[in-house]
Symmetry: C2
Subunit: 342 residues, 2 copies
């Protein structure tokens, strides 16, 4: 009977709408259901929820920031999930509250290439001190990145003091994650032969540490050799963080070997950069740059999605690439048409 | 008497204004005085010359592109001028016409840190088959870059078939030069001890070749060692150009040793990338990206220079970096005010 009754309703599971105050109170109390709903609110693509979600965030802002924000990248198969499960569980045991988020622009297309399968972090997901959230769907990296940043703030306000942001190396996603975390680490694998091949362009230069995973069993020596090789290379690159030397380490997410060291390195990093002020400065810059990038993305979107511009852009671009129209003249013409037709 | 007469005039050297047709004809005839005036026209910051300069460019466009465009970067003291003088003179002797331009965003501040002193390339400057133009003054890298790109087109239309664009490693200038040339080379020095220190972030990854200069006399062996070290590193990086392996070489701009090899490498590169289509594709993309960047710069300029935005931006940004206003809310507020007040 109840079933039949529900079927007659448009939204069988419709829940009471929460007010801004209820969202804020629930998050600050660490209520998991409200946290999840607050995240769903900021993840919404619907403009009608934008102002509400921003108001919730504004009221939560004073309670954010009391965490260490870790970014983790690595190729598929590098062992990110095993590492996060292992590190996260250890930290929960020590009294920390750990939130795990993902930035994965591909997940909206391929349906959850990371964190989609919750069973990958089964143990951590069930831990009452942990909160595991898959990558938001919804298009562009810019969109995914805004949602992840805001989710991070909600988790901080809810009392999570370790935020782990995972990403796979798709497009610009590492750069995006680097721009929202304090400490960025790259998880790597050794392989037969050429250890360093396949390193994505520029990734070493934004990392605060490289960890070579699966340094266990017969693979241990290979991993140690790779570590030495990476350290040689890193020595010649400018470090990602002023006053901090990026180094390579070995780790075994499987046996747990090196996980304590990893956490010690992160703490040493935090202590050092807090003392020098680099930590605080980076966070301020990240907020400021985040605002700038939102503005600039919107300015571009307004332009390129203008119906009149859409109509003439292809033809204009064709003339430019064919070399019959100088780019500055083309740009000037498009901008003047835009200003007339918006 | 003549002197006195001139002093009484406001513009003692005022020249007859050229028409668009006169500019175009003069440039196509390779008339040096007209080329110089056409460049001055595109370098002008005055809006009243913009349309005229763009019309000149539009008419010249069909005659552009018949050249190899080389970008050269290197720290001050690496020997860029000596190399360009040596390579340029050699190429003129072989019948080429060589134009040397500079992209140096610092020159407007520090008054010509590169190419400002013409005596640095005295021999080449006097060569009738060469055209040496210092970096345009005028503010932003964006502005300097537009002027240099357009100057390059004028030189090509005038028959110069080798365009050398020089830059010092200031800010984003290498990336800018990379985006306007076919082949990008980095000139380096060996030093005592740590050969690879001081390499600017990301430069190796946009280079088509590294040349270690001053491989002469007692320095020869050190240079050879550095070359081996760089090649080791380059092996692990993705190449800047698809289908072309970036390698390190030694050279002596002073003795001329290795200059012929350099030219052979450049020709081999051109041949290979023309055959694969990478050469043509990159040029098309460069034109298209140039137009996009001009549009996006202007959209940002319109926004940030809007008087109302200027008035409220500082305060808004302060709230964002202090963590009391969420970035997305700040961006939304600024954009909505902008749309109301433009």
């Amino acid at each position: 009977m109840e079933n039949k009754y529900q079927e007659n309703r448009n939204h069988p599971k419709r829940r009471r709408t929460l007010s801004v105050e209820q969202y804020v109170e629930g998050v600050l109390n660490g209520d998991r259901a409200t946290i999840a709903r607050a995240i769903t609110l900021v993840e919404s693509n619907s403009p009608k929820y934008f102002h509400k979600s921003q108001e919730v965030l504004r009221l939560l802002m004073p309670y954010t920031g009391n965490s260490i924000r870790l970014g983790i990248t690595g190729v598929p198969g590098a062992g990110k999930s095993t590492l996060i499960e292992s590190l996260g569980t250890k930290l929960c045991d020590r009294g920390h509250h750990v939130a795990v988020l993902a930035v994965d622009p591909s997940s909206s297309v391929s349906k959850g290439s990371i964190l989609g399968d919750k069973t990958r972090m089964e143990k951590l997901s069930k831990n009452q001190q942990a909160f595991v959230r898959p990558s938001p769907s919804g298009g562009t990296l810019g969109g995914v990145s805004r949602k992840s940043r805001e989710t991070m703030l909600i988790c901080e306000a809810a009392g999570y003091d370790v935020i782990i942001v995972e990403t796979v190396g798709v497009g610009q996603s590492e750069i995006t994650v680097r721009s929202m975390v304090d400490f960025f680490l790259v998880l790597m694998l050794t392989g037969a032969g050429d250890e360093l091949q396949g390193m994505k362009k520029g990734v070493m230069e934004i990392a605060d540490a490289l960890f070579i995973n699966k340094a266990d069993g017969p693979n241990k020596q290979t991993a140690e050799n790779a570590k030495a090789e990476y350290n040689r290379l890193l020595h010649f690159l400018q470090p990602a963080t002023q006053g901090w030397e990026t180094k390579a380490y070995t780790i075994s997410a499987l046996t747990g070997n090196g996980i304590d060291d990893m956490w010690n390195i992160i703490n040493k990093y935090k202590e050092k950069t807090l003392k020098s002020g680099v930590f605080q400065k980076r966070r301020q810059n990240q907020l400021s740059e985040w605002m700038d990038s939102l503005i600039e993305e919107q300015l571009k979107r307004d332009f390129y999605e203008n119906p009149y511009i859409k109509e003439i852009l292809t033809d204009t671009k064709k003339k430019v690439t064919e070399g019959t129209l100088p780019p500055a003249q083309a740009a000037e013409k498009l901008l003047s048409e835009y200003n007339k037709n918006k």
